[in-house]
């Protein structure tokens, strides 16, 4: 038994050269750009971009599913716009970095012998979740910003699980390869470039340059001054009904008839002394407040608009709600995971949190939430509930 195991161990550690064919051959990959030096620089850049992406994505998750210890502030009003813009922009910029990195280390997939020790086997196995997860995250993220869903799983849930698995694999990868990366970027290069091909520095400049170019031609979907350069942005901040984008239209939400029902009422219910049922005319006759607030979509586009409507805090006072409350805003939308959203204590009482009736000086377009929508500072777009019909004080 022991002899069999020893023989198996020997066969794994020093397999027969007969098996060494195709990409396993010595020198099968000739380009000297498949080097640890290139892999190290790209690995460090990817580490920074993935950690940034993970942190901003986790933040967005916490805002939308707040645990008891987490309270997202209402100020500064444009903070979420920035963190989510960074999330999507670093994700897009990571695509060239990842492809360059995978290309640089590709010969390692066919290294000989494939396994040298238990530790080596474990380290190689940990690359499966790292590479599979990285490709999965960037592919699903890119598809999502273009609202393309060729799968059945719910994108945020699938993307979120993949993020934890990938970041775990990345931490293991840093443990295994960190010393090599630091050695490579500190030491002088040992191999000379081919006479006229792309140098290591040229290759890195190409990859980083492509990342920069992709950023420039997409980031205009959230950075207004760059919108004219947004050649490949899936959204334009100035294209849509009333001059800005929509994520879910009234037709998709099945509210085209409900929203124009003359019997529409906005209810204020729950933990209140005097429940309210206000018609659209009554809402219009209440004191109106104007607020300049961004609408910042999870998919990475954002735009600042001038909203006009009734302060939620005024409605809460009129209904006799306690001072420190959370409020759930419910939509006319009959179904869907985003038909309601919760205002925490800070958002509910912020003077700029409105039940908006107008945007840009005109009555809300039905795709922007007619007759009334929630708009508040520093909130993800999916929580700016449209076609609001009830505020439930919790």
């Amino acid at each position: 038994m022991v002899r069999v195991l020893k023989r198996a161990r020997t066969a794994i550690k020093a397999p027969s050269d007969e098996l060494r064919r195709g990409p396993f051959r010595d020198g099968a990959f000739s380009s000297y750009l498949h080097s640890e030096r290139v892999a190290s620089w790209l690995g460090i850049a990817l580490g920074i971009s993935f950690v940034t992406c993970f942190a901003t994505g986790l933040l967005s998750h916490l805002i939308q599913h707040p645990p008891s210890w987490f309270t997202w502030p209402a100020r500064p009003a444009g903070l979420y716009r920035i963190t989510q813009g960074i999330h999507v922009a670093t994700g897009v910029a990571s695509i060239p970095l990842l492809l360059g990195k995978l290309w640089a280390v590709y010969p390692r997939l066919w290294q000989w012998p494939p396994v040298r020790s238990v530790l080596h086997a474990l380290e190689r196995a940990s690359l499966i979740p790292l590479v599979a997860g990285s490709i999965f995250l960037l592919f699903t993220g890119l598809a999502n910003i273009g609202l393309w869903y060729p799968w059945d799983f719910f994108f945020p849930a699938g993307h979120y699980s993949a993020a934890w698995i990938t970041i775990g694999a990345l931490i293991i990868h840093v443990a295994a390869k960190g010393s090599i990366a630091m050695r490579e970027i500190r030491n002088r290069p040992t191999t000379k470039p081919e006479s006229d091909g792309l140098s290591r520095r040229g290759f890195l400049a190409t990859i980083f340059g492509t990342a920069g170019l992709l950023t420039v031609v997409t980031v205009g979907q959230t950075v207004g001054p760059l919108k004219r350069l947004a050649l490949l942005a899936p959204r334009r901040p100035d294209v849509g009904p009333q001059g800005f984008p929509v994520n879910q239209s009234a037709a998709e939400a099945n509210v085209t008839e409900l929203a124009v029902d003359p019997n529409y009422r906005l209810l204020v219910s729950g933990n209140v002394a005097r429940p309210l049922a206000l018609s659209l005319d009554e809402l219009r006759s209440m004191p109106q407040t104007v607020a300049e607030l961004p609408i910042a979509c999870v998919e990475g586009w954002s735009t600042s608009q001038t909203w006009r409507g009734i302060r939620v805090t005024d409605l809460l006072d009129r209904a006799g709600a306690p001072a420190n409350v959370r409020v759930r805003a419910e939509s006319l939308q009959p179904g869907g995971l985003y038909r309601a959203s919760v205002l925490n204590e800070l958002h509910a009482r912020d003077p700029d949190t409105l039940i908006a009736l107008e945007v840009g000086g005109d009555t809300l377009h039905i795709d922007h939430g007619y007759p009334a929508r929630l708009i508040g500072p520093n909130r993800p777009g999916v929580q700016q509930t449209k076609w609001v019909t009830e505020l439930v004080v919790l």
């Binding site: 979740p129 799983f153 775990g168 293991i172 191999t191 091909g197 340059g209 998709e252």
Partner: protein, 191 residues
């Protein structure tokens, strides 16, 4: 200094903050002894170098344990919210990307690259390589928008641009830069 200049040591900038070294100055087992891959795979009979710095070894172990824990958390989450993540299908997409990249995309890119630049020599070889790499990546990113997979008749604000022109414009930028670099290299090679 153009991007295509050969590496020079004296002006290599170091964008990594100094304190980042501590966190990354780690290694596990014989991985740290590996030579550069262009020198061929390391010999299995090579000497195993003992770590001189026990702190680095312990840090690497700590990272490996933390990373494993984070991965387990992710896997548990995947199955905990199975009604939304559809783990069976999720795994197919997850492994699918890996398999498609490693066994189809990467070999095709390597073969295509060898075909395109195999006969290119002299001043235009490196710019051609760079231009092709950038073109491939940008086209890949633009593809879902170009094909309009996310288009929705109920929501015209999705994918409102002309992405054929957008891609053409982006590629024009890439090849203009490529042409300038090639022209400069041509000048250098004549001198």
């Amino acid at each position: 200094v153009t991007p295509s200049d050969p590496p020079r040591d004296h002006d290599q900038s170091d964008p990594i903050p100094e304190d980042a070294g501590d966190g990354a100055e780690v290694g596990v087992g014989d991985e740290a002894t590996e030579s550069e891959i262009d020198n061929g795979p390391p010999s299995s009979a090579g000497p195993v170098v003992e770590f001189r710095d026990p702190f680095a070894t312990n840090l690497a172990r700590a990272f490996a344990i933390i990373g494993s824990g984070v991965m387990v958390f992710g896997v548990l989450g995947l199955f905990h919210s199975a009604s939304r993540t559809h783990p069976g299908q999720w795994v197919r997409w997850w492994l699918g990307g890996l398999v498609v990249h490693d066994l189809i995309v990467a070999p095709l890119v390597i073969a295509f690259g060898a075909f395109m630049i195999g006969r290119a020599r002299g001043w235009w070889r490196a710019p051609l390589q760079g231009g092709l790499i950038a073109t491939g990546i940008v086209t890949l990113v633009a593809w879902p928008f170009l094909r309009g997979y996310g288009l929705n008749p109920d929501n015209p604000s999705v994918l409102p641009g002309n992405y054929a022109w957008g891609l053409a414009g982006t590629l024009a930028i890439i090849w203009s830069i490529t042409a300038v670099i090639a022209w400069r290299r041509r000048g250098f090679s004549r001198n």
